[in-house]
Every structure is written in structure tokens, then in C-alpha cells.
Amino acid sequence: MSAIIRASNLSKRYGKQLALDQTSFEIQPGRIVGLIGPNGSGKTTTLKAMLGLTRFDGELSVLGLDPRTQRDALMNEVCFIADVAILPRWLKVKNAIDFVAGVHPRFDRAKAERYLANTKLTPNMKVKAMSKGMVVQLHLALVMAIDAKLLVLDEPTLGLDIIYRKQFYQNLLEDYFDADKTILITTHQIEEVEHILTDLLFIENGKITLSASMDEVGERFTEVMVGPEYVGAASALQPMAQRTVFGKSVMLFDGADRTQLARFGDTRTPSVADLFVATMKGSYA
């Protein structure tokens, strides 16, 4: 299958600050990709470039279109929620639904109304009368009812309580996602999305530092709870990170043989959060 997003040598400069530095990556259709990086790493710039919201140098094709010149066509197939979901204060719930239904050929009104039925939102409510979480609920209900080929979520659940967050990701997976769709998520709450992701993209200082499917991550990275007597031997294998939990050393290895590591203690696949912290360590040291 051909990639849905193909980026090569993306560069973007804000004044002297280099936001994207010859960034290249590909995203295949039917995947749920987590774009993960520290603040200021180029995440938002990458998303903006894909959505035709910023100019950049390099090659970028999204669904076969160039977001710089073919943005209007692209928006029929792509939907996104920008980092802070902001709807205009004067907008009423019913107006929002009418408008999106009026202009978006892929909007399913019944679906949006079904999502809204699970919230406290009423048709005549205005955005300015809503809590922050309610605004996000409205925005998500609108977006989830759009049958887009590519959905880009930039910190989609900011301001939502834990119950609704869990429900949102569950809906996303069960109700929205299918093999024809691709979802790209950035979030700081990695723990909440890691079980739904199929692929990881780590970005740091405008460069992609890791691009792998979750299966590949499982094969490549191993975390070992090393018994005290093996610490010296394990360290010799050059773990990429090491931390101490309850007096025991936990070491993270990249590309080491798992059976060999099993001699030192219990092995498991590291969590995305731990892998992220270990990968990013260099930039903070």
C-alpha cells in the first residue's frame, strides 16, 4: 500500500529558530500514529505543514495532494482539531451542527447528535455558556461525525475529565476508526493513547528520531529489571537508559537479544512514556 503522508526534507524556520530540520517520514493508511515530542520539538509545525496552514521547504504529499497548493481539495478528506480547541463564543450547538452539515459533504448529522446525547449540551446552548470541557465535547462530536480519510488530533482531550477522555478514545477506536482511515495524534498524556496507537513517530529538535510500528518497538526495545548481582554485566551491554525502581535497576536496551537479557532478570516491552523519556534524554542532558 502506498503511504498516505509522505514527507521528505521538510524545513521550516521561524526567524533564527529552526522548527523543522530536513524532516522526513511516511505514514501508511489504516494506522493510528502518535507524533510525540517535547515542547518546541516541531510537532505543531509538522501538523500545520500537513494541513496547509504554514509554508515550508521540502516535499510533502498528503493523500497525494500538496497542502500548500491544493489545500481546498485536501480539506474534503482531512479533518483536524488544533491544539487548543476553540469554537467562537457566539456559536450555538444547533448552529454548529447545521453549519457543518451544510458545508461538509462527509458529515453524518445523526452521528453527531448521538454523541451529543451523551453530554449535557443542549441545542440552544452557546459556546460562551459552556465549560471548557463542554466546548471540547462539542468539537469532538462534530469531528467524529465527519468521515475523513485522515484525522489529525493535536492535544484533543485537553480540559476533559478522565471519564470523558477514556470514552473518547474508546469511541475513536470502536466507532470511528477503520482500515481506510488514518489518525494522527499528538498528546502529552501518552499513557492514555499508547494502547490504541499502531505506530510511533518521535520528533526532537525538528528531526524524526524514531519511526516504528508498535510491533517493531516490541521487537527492538527491551526493558529489564536487573537483579543487583547482574548490574555490572548488564551495564556492559550499554543500555540506552537506566533508572532505579524500589532499589532495583531497570535498564532499557535497544536492539539487544531478549533471551540474552532474560538472564539478568524479568524482561518486558517498555511503555511508550519510558521509551520517550529515554530517547529524549540526550536533548536535556
Partner: protein, 313 residues
């Protein structure tokens, strides 16, 4: 086309208070004043005696009917003048508010092009807002005329027939609506300029919008006077600055275009709906009107480009 319909609805949802309720309130106030005057007039006294019946009939009644049918829309003049303010401030906010409240990214996440969006805002300013105001003016004027006739009836004169039998009575509203193309062309440079500022300025839109054309004009005037440069500052102020700022005022074409002014001055003795209408359309014969309209279109195109590419940090 369907998208355009929803975009214009969107503008009306957002600006209902400004584009609809403000002129309606103004009309209601005028109506209330007229009603109060009528009631007060009914109890009019002269030297301690009630003014009794005033019976007008025959030729004078016909003349009254003919005159009223020609000018009754003048009752809505204050509302018409308000249109200039409404369109001015609507345009200033049109592309700035969505950037200020950061809802721009929401609108941009929908399959609506920047050109379509900006066009819907220009159309709201140039067509929808004037039509709403014209409608309110027509209803208000009809009510005022009815009140006048009722007032006369109370005093013993039935003028309804005299008014309703006049063709002008029916034609006047059509003439008002028929001024829309002239208004549109004359307002284009101002609407274009205001939309451009609205899409460009980070803040203080009003200051930028008014300050820039005024400052440039004054600067030219100053360099002309002080440095003796061979450029005409008064020309800039009276031609460019006024068209950039005052084009949205209904009737501004009488100020800008000699042809229209000449037309209205020629009929100075009996200015009525008909002479205003034909003198207004005469403005279309002026090249400067078309140059201004073309500049307006260019500035609208520029604001579209800015909305597409401008990045907020």
C-alpha cells in the same frame, strides 16, 4: 452555492445584533416618536380651543397624495444613514474577530476555501446588510405613512385613496432596492480596504483603518506645502481617503461623482425618489467609480491571500 448560503447564514448568526436588531431598534424609536407626535398633535390646542376638523379635498388632496407617495421613504433616512456605520464596523471585525478569538483554525478545518469565506463576508457587507436595512426602511416608511393617513383621518380627511392610487407609491420601494448596484460599486473600495485591514492588523483595527489613509493624505499635503513638491495632497484626501473610508455611506456617490451631483442639482427644485434614482445611476458613467470598484476587488483578493497564508504566533 450551498456553501455560500451557509457562510452567509453564519455571518448573520454572528452579527444578528448588529445587522438586524440595531436598525430594527432604530426604526422602532422613530416610530415611537412619530406615534407620540401624532397623539400629541391630536390634542393640539390653539388659543385654548381644540383644533377641530381639517378637511382637505379635491386638488390639494391629490397633490398631498402625489407628494407623499414620492417621498414617504424619506421617513427611513436615519436608518439608511445607520447602514454606513453598520457596514463599516462589520467589515472591520469580519476577518479580525476570528483571528482574535482563535476560532480561525476551526473554520479552516472545514472544506471551505478562503476565497469563499472572504467573498461571503464581502457579500454580507455589500448586499445582505443593505437589503436588510432597505427592508426595514420600507416597512418603517409604510407604517409612518399609514400613521400620517390615520392622523389625517382623525381630523376628518381620508387620504388613503389619494396615496394608494399613485404609481409612485408602489414604485418607490423598487427604486430604493434598485439603488443596490450603485451602493455596491460605490462601497467596494471602502469594504475592500476595511477587509484588508481586518485581515492584516494584529490589533487596533479602527486606528489602522482610519489612520493610514488620513495620515498618508496629510503627509502628502504637508510635503506639498512645506517642501514644494509637485504632488496634490488635497486630491489624495478628497479622492482616495474619502473613498477608502466613506464609500459605505449611502449616497456617498453624490459626494464623489460629479455626474451624480450635477444630476441632483439639476433637479434641485423638486428632489424626489425618481430624481435621486436617476442621478444615482448616472454615477455609473463616472470612470473613477469603476476604478474605485476595481481597487476594492483587488483589496478583497489581497485579504483572501492574507487569510490563506497569514500565521499567528
Amino acid at each position: 452555492m450551498n456553501t455560500m448560503k451557509w457562510l452567509i447564514k453564519r455571518e448573520l448568526w454572528e452579527n444578528k445584533g448588529m445587522l438586524f436588531w440595531a436598525p430594527v431598534v432604530m426604526a422602532c424609536v422613530l416610530l415611537a416618536i412619530a406615534l407620540a407626535a401624532l397623539i400629541a398633535g391630536h390634542n393640539m390646542q390653539y388659543d385654548g380651543n381644540h383644533i377641530g376638523m381639517v378637511v382637505i379635498a379635491g386638488k390639494p388632496l391629490e397633490a398631498f397624495g402625489a407628494g407623499a407617495a414620492k417621498v414617504y421613504l424619506a421617513a427611513g433616512m436615519p436608518v439608511l444613514m445607520m447602514l454606513g456605520f453598520l457596514v463599516f464596523f462589520y467589515c472591520l471585525g469580519a476577518l479580525h474577530d476570528e483571528r482574535r478569538d482563535r476560532s480561525l483554525l476551526f473554520w479552516k478545518s472545514l472544506p471551505v476555501s478562503d476565497a469563499m469565506t472572504v467573498l461571503s463576508k464581502a457579500a454580507t457587507a455589500l448586499v445582505v446588510a443593505p437589503l436588510i436595512v432597505f427592508g426595514i426602511i420600507i416597512v418603517l416608511s409604510l407604517l409612518m405613512l399609514a400613521l400620517t393617513c390615520i392622523g389625517l383621518m382623525v381630523h376628518g380627511t381620508n387620504a388613503f385613496g389619494a396615496v394608494l392610487s399613485q404609481a409612485d407609491f408602489y414604485v418607490s420601494p423598487l427604486r430604493l432596492v434598485g439603488l443596490l448596484p450603485v451602493y455596491l460599486l460605490c462601497a467596494l473600495p471602502t469594504v475592500g480596504w476595511l477587509l484588508l485591514v481586518s485581515s492584516w492588523a494584529r490589533s487596533k483595527v479602527f486606528l489602522w483603518a482610519v489612520g493610514v489613509p488620513l495620515a498618508i493624505g496629510l503627509l502628502i499635503l504637508w510635503s506639498q506645502r512645506a517642501l514644494g513638491l509637485d504632488i496634490d495632497g488635497t486630491w489624495f484626501l478628497s479622492t482616495i481617503t474619502t473613498r477608502a473610508l466613506l464609500g459605505v455611506v449611502p449616497g456617498a456617490w453624490f459626494l464623489f461623482e460629479k455626474i451624480a451631483r450635477a444630476g441632483i442639482l439639476a433637479s434641485a427644485e423638486h428632489v424626489d425618489g425618481g430624481s435621486i434614482f436617476s442621478a444615482s445611476w448616472a454615477a455609473l458613467g463616472s470612470v473613477s467609480l469603476w476604478v474605485g470598484a476595481a481597487a476594492g476587488v483587488a483589496m478583497i483578493a489581497a485579504s483572501t491571500w492574507l487569510r490563506r497564508w497569514r500565521e499567528e504566533n
